[in-house]
């Protein structure tokens, strides 16, 4: 199945990946070829088959809800590109102005 450049641009936004025009061209060609390949599955009759998301027959796993140590704020922030010691800092969530 062939994807259009426009399809790929939309997926790029969903995936939060900025793609250059050249990358869009390459990605359109490569994804079309891969999607064509995986499309072979449609030939297999699965009308009576349930999806399998987990390979083993594990049931729900429960544990007691007890407090235990977790990362401190400082540890959680230690690898953040920008923080103020208490919070992660990010650019403006709304509108197109300002950046942290």
């Amino acid at each position: 199945m062939a994807l259009s450049k426009n399809d790929v641009a939309k997926v790029g936004l969903l995936a939060r990946l900025a793609l250059s025009d050249a990358e869009l061209d390459t990605m359109t060609r490569e994804l079309s070829s891969i999607v064509g390949f995986v499309g072979q599955l449609e030939k297999i009759d699965t009308s009576a088959v349930e999806p399998l998301a987990h390979p083993l027959d594990t049931q729900n796993v429960f544990r007691e809800d007890v407090p235990r140590p977790s990362l401190s704020t400082a540890e959680a922030l230690q690898s953040s590109p920008r923080h103020d010691g208490e919070c992660f800092l990010v650019p403006a969530v709304l509108g197109d102005t300002g950046s942290a």
């Binding site: 994807l3 399809d7 790929v8 997926v11 790029g12 936004l13 969903l14 995936a15 939060r16 990946l17 900025a18 793609l19 990358e23 990605m27 490569e30 994804l31 070829s33 891969i34 999607v35 390949f37 995986v38 499309g39 072979q40 599955l41 449609e42 297999i44 699965t46 088959v49 349930e50 999806p51 399998l52 998301a53 987990h54 390979p55 083993l56 594990t58 796993v61 544990r63 990362l71 540890e75 959680a76 230690q78 690898s79 953040s80 590109p81 920008r82 992660f88 990010v90 650019p91 403006a92 969530v93 709304l94 509108g95 197109d96 102005t97 300002g98 950046s99 942290a100």
Partner: protein, 498 residues
Amino acid sequence: MQPSDLSAVDLVNAVRQGDLTAVRCTEAYLDRIAALDGSINAFLSVDREGSLRTAASIDERRKAGKPIGPLAGLPVAVKDALCTTDQPTTCASKMLAGFRPPYDAEVVARLRAADAVIVGKTNMDEFAMGGSNENSAFGPVHNPWDLARTPGGSSGGSAAAVAADMAPVAIGSDTGGSIRQPAGLCGITGLKPTYGRVSRRGLVAFASSLDQIGPMARSAADCALILSSIAGHDPGDATSLDAPVPSYTADLERPLEGVRIGRVAAHFGAGVDPEVAHAVEEAFAAFRAAGAIIKEIDLPHADAGVATYYLVAPCEASSNLARYDGAHYGHRAEPGKTSGGFESALVEMYCRSRAEGFGPEVKRRIMLGTYALSAGYYDAYYAKALRVRRLIRQDYLDAFAEVDLIGGPVSATAAFKLGEKTGDPLSMYLVDLYTVGTNLAGVGGISFPCGFTKSGLPIGFQLQGPALAEQLLLRAADRYQHLTDWHLRRPAIAAQRC
């Protein structure tokens, strides 16, 4: 005798008995890394000071008569996909360049508790996506048997480190063959345990329903030693199996009389290199001579494995890798030079950080997964793949009603040349033909050398077993390694005295 001439089992015995100090053992391997890794590139970081400090403390404890762990003094190389607090953890991605995790992976914690010495972190395909190690942001790994060739991937650094005797054992992870295929291409032994046998906590997530950590070493006996220390339930990983851990070393010598090994005719189809087919058939003959019963079986949906895998894995990856947002940790694009077209500064930061941090293969898989999960395509692609996954698992369940293990090639060819497949992503994906089924079914597999091509490249044999059959997988490989000496051969580069 050099420490690098000894097996892992012999090394820990020598340290325990005082014939070898942990410091001398660690130093010998660090010296080999310093001498050889310039031409192999198996390590992304080496912790000389830290590992010698750890080794010295083990020696002190032993001298003082205090208890030491089952892996005391054993140097271990760990794939850079496992979190380590004292060494960087990059997953071979610019996204995580310099990242220091705030906690150790459970497997790393267990290795430390067993007094293993973590000498360094190994190179890999970025985020474990690839079969040749060429997707590393820090340069490819070179196969010690032929530096112009790939070591396989994604645990190529771990495989090459063991093959060149830069570490007696290494830790890898296997999502679709990433332990077994590089082990096969580098002439070493690699075990992918049953899904859930080993905790995934602190393994950087790629495809959570497929990922599994396992040992890579020269022999099955050495893999058994490591598995005994890292296997077992971890409340910190809800998918880890709460099943007893048997002794993986105790059962190795039991003969294979009556063990039924399945052979799949389709494994010897048109795409298989004749030299590989020949070596694999010889291995079947060796197993027969050892008392095993070889039985023809069929895995009817094996042909659909790669297509199923390249939907399930990218879908899970696109979700897992959404965490790299430039805010919590990892690369963040500098603000400025706005290209416009983004709905907010935040979305722009996300899109540009991810575009700068991820390499081409990771982007391709994120895109493929996002597409297959998007509205209108979910049922046709992702849900369809999950249905075929059930059929594939059922094939394995049916097969294991008839046989105890399934044998066959690991890869259709020996190691290919670096650059040979980089222009065509799909041809690279097909490399995984014989290995992805194990992960989709959630069972275990082991690969080990069963011969060499005329040009001197290792050929791998794979055994797959039912869930939690690690004892039998290791025992069968160990029995084979007592009949053959393929696993003892060393590339010329490893023979160098350092």
